[in-house]
Symmetry: C3
């Protein structure tokens, strides 16, 4: 095994963006629906896709099965062990020390951050999804002209809870990122809130989404932004993070902005990370969906110009514990592969390669979120 | 030779989107104009491009010439053999069992589907280009308020002919894919038809192009859509298939939609195939233009998240029979290379790799178009 | 060493787009600010990025230091040698015969074209940046209705100076490339000039930027266009060269258009070069920022469909002489690597590979700019 791979294998990762896992045993239909950003369609099983192949290859051994185990065997063994044990195995297997958990998306009953921490043998922090806060405020029946203050107060309450280290927005889903970058006026917000309250439904008004992003700036915590790949609720071209440029100019000098997922716009994200001090990125979600066979290729594009202090690791695991293991493994294999290749070609010194590995896998996240941990090198 | 390559080499492909070849001998200027999406410009021969290099490397041997034969020798031998024999050799060489032929673009006198089938030793089906149908209707002198009905009737007539298995639209060329997704009203269609009939020329009105796409939905057959790469009549950024997202939501549950070519938006196309049940893709046209040297790289991006049931093979050959051979060869080499690499790295089992190869090269197309053939595995 | 690499190593390059270097010794802060398109931020040194790694790896040996020298040693040795000697070493090291120098961007005191030529042991030509000309005209206090004539006259004066071979526009920075393609009327230009003169500041009015591009057409010289990657003054998605399509149609048959940088839109640029006679491209700037470890991957995408007569070399070096060396080295290593790989796989004949190498590194530029030189092959 290469020196870089050894270092990355031994490194306790910081997973700066993930979700809980479903606290129930899953039948085939339920499991399949959780390993795709689409659905399980007749004749097109999510197992017949890169992520399905990767689950059978890399997750089966942790359930004491041979590599490439057949689907039925895999699911039978998973049920036999029970969700609790399965969760423990994959979270331990991921060797993740720290988890930052987005608790704001929970159509299923999910593992809580402390439960994830216990399963992983590490610690967990919380990320507050601001759209959820806004929708809770709307549900209280507040008057439109009190919405802005009520939202800000609720968001402040939410982020002051112990263990909260960041906020998140899914503006990319709700409106796309091609928004007017300016902070909306009180009058605009009240008018937009009136419209939303009359219509009901989830937060999707462009003025209110902008207001949400600017409220994030006021909160002062790092802001995680969904960009790129997701389910079919996204308009992919409007989730290109390059659309954020004007907003990043206006908010320079305020909060760190963490671009999540990014694929297929990882080069655009890298550009932003290279030219804006406050911008960081990961290729979470992408890593387990493309699998270890392509994780290195995607990371190589993401790293073409990204400063090494700006790449973070996240799994974006949701629902099934497999994704904690698979994301971590794809990250370790992919990053180690590309760094070692450069060391072997004498394009990079080994000490530099090891430093980059530790930064991306752990230290950059400790630094951005001001988390405790062994004092990161180089700070 | 690798096991995957052997399987792909032995597989009778289904080429789900191609055109006829010119039924005449070609001088240098004519041949060059057919092997570029641009033109033959002074001092910039299309032979001095990736596709030209690939023709000399991979097509020369089928004309009994050495690999990398000089251009003049290649063209002389081609003339010596005659277009009929050349066509036979390349179509046989492509080992294509089934061809779905777009018969709606014929600035040249072209081989018909039965002639292609005979040359290939396989069978041929027809794809009806709807813009051609619309323009035929316009040419009849129909009244604008009768256009919608007349177009639908003509399209129904066209697809009811024996051997028709799909329709196609080049909306990407005519307006771009960034269209209002909604079905236009009768009033809108009549107004737009009035404008078109007064202006004349080809179909390019956005309302009528939308109407054409919705008529395709009514016809019930699979719809092939040009996306991405083409000649300079395209605005490439407006041919990004991600622009189809809203329309795909509105038409979910109706017809299969096959995204053709896709490059350089193969990842965007893969995203759509991963999140919409009805979406399929190929990287036809691209394969012979980038040549075997890069076909694997493009396929690897296309397959990053595409469900293995969603990738199809097409040559998009037009004009010269070389492209049937070159497209098939680039597909076989590229796909075999990437699958075998994963088998060798133990990222994929060999049986899975062989299954994916057969699906992509043949079975997925038989399934989408409901074509006869050996019963595809796994159905 | 491979045959292709030997040929490229021995080839005197034509660097068709570069800038001067700072004529002063640089402290760490000054040096760092010149090796990033962002800034030097606390805790995020530009040395901790792909370009910084490449400088320590590939530039240190030319300063008599070991590969991967520590930053402090590198900078100390650089100061010890002095900027004059450092400039000489890197320019000689780049083995560049001909330099086309954009003299219109000079926030620092920079080496002049003759000084660069002397340092390189080659010859230098000048590229006139049209935005600079326009801003000089504005500064003369001309009346708005005389602006168009005055700008044209000043541009003509500028390009008639000896040694001027091309003009350049940074429209991508000022407005983005998604401009109305039509030539603006005199009335529009006068109105826009009135607005600009009242507001002051740099040229950024869309009408005047369009007018500038059309004036370039009238001048008749090759036009270099910034596209893609740059500092944070760019909106990356609006610098996609595909936006130029309509303008390229309107200006077909007039001047050569050279797309600079292009990343991450090198495939879009390749498409334009494949379908418009007048379009050429390079991946300058990108090459040293991604470094030799990724230059081959970027070039491979750029060359997927680009006619081999359409790729040029540029360093886009600015400020530090290291970039002349690094750009040339990344180009040579990257292009040689991909061509030799194809020769080894028998996808390309060796004579073809050598021809492509000489065209891209030298002959294509001599041809487009009508520069003297050994008579390029194949003309």
């Amino acid at each position: 095994m290469s020196a870089v791979r050894e270092t990355l294998d031994a490194l306790g990762l910081v997973d700066h963006h993930c979700h809980g896992t479903v606290t129930a045993d899953l039948d085939r239909a339920a499991f399949e629906s959780l390993i795709t950003e689409g659905d399980a369609w007749p004749g097109v099983s999510p197992f017949d896709s890169p992520v399905g192949v990767a689950v059978r290859r890399h997750c089966a051994p942790l359930l004491d099965l041979p590599r490439h185990a057949p689907v039925e065997e895999y699911l039978a063994r998973r049920s036999e062990l029970g969700w609790h044990e399965v969760r423990r195995r994959f979270l331990r297997g991921s060797r993740t020390d720290v988890l930052c958990v987005d608790t704001g998306f929970a159509p299923d009953r999910l593992t809580t951050p402390p439960e994830l921490a216990e399963a992983a043998g590490g610690s967990a922090y919380e990320v507050v999804r601001l759209e959820g806060v806004a929708e809770s405020v709307q549900a209280t029946g507040v008057e439109p002209d009190a919405y802005a203050d009520a939202f800000r107060a609720a968001a402040l309450d939410a982020v002051r809870r112990p263990g909260v280290v960041a906020v998140k927005s899914v503006a990319a889903y709700r409106t796309g990122l091609d928004l007017d970058p300016a902070r909306p006026s009180d009058t605009e917000v009240t008018r937009a809130a009136r419209g939303w309250f009359a219509r009901g439904g989830r937060l999707g008004d462009p003025v209110l989404v902008r207001h949400l992003l600017w409220t994030a700036v006021d909160l002062g915590l790092p802001l995680q932004l969904h960009t790129g790949f997701g389910d079919n609720d996204i308009r992919l071209h409007r989730a290109d993070p390059a659309h954020l440029t004007d907003w990043l100019h206006l908010t320079a000098g305020t909060i760190p902005v963490l671009l999540l997922h990014c694929w297929p716009y990882q080069r655009q994200a890298a550009y932003l990370a290279a030219v804006f001090e406050q911008v960081y990125l990961d290729v979470g979600l992408t890593l387990h969906y493309v699998g270890p066979a392509r994780a290195g290729a995607v990371l190589a594009e993401a790293l073409e110009i990204t400063p090494f202090r700006k790449l973070l690791y996240s799994s974006d695991a949701y629902g099934v514990a497999e994704f904690f293991h698979l994301g971590a493994l794809a990250f370790r294999h992919g990053l180690a592969g590309l760094l070692q290749e450069r060391v072997d070609a004498d394009e990079l010194s080994l000490p530099d390669a090891l430093r980059i590995a530790r930064w991306a896998g752990r230290d950059n996240a400790l630094r951005v979120y001001r988390l405790p941990g062994d004092r990161p090198e180089g700070d």
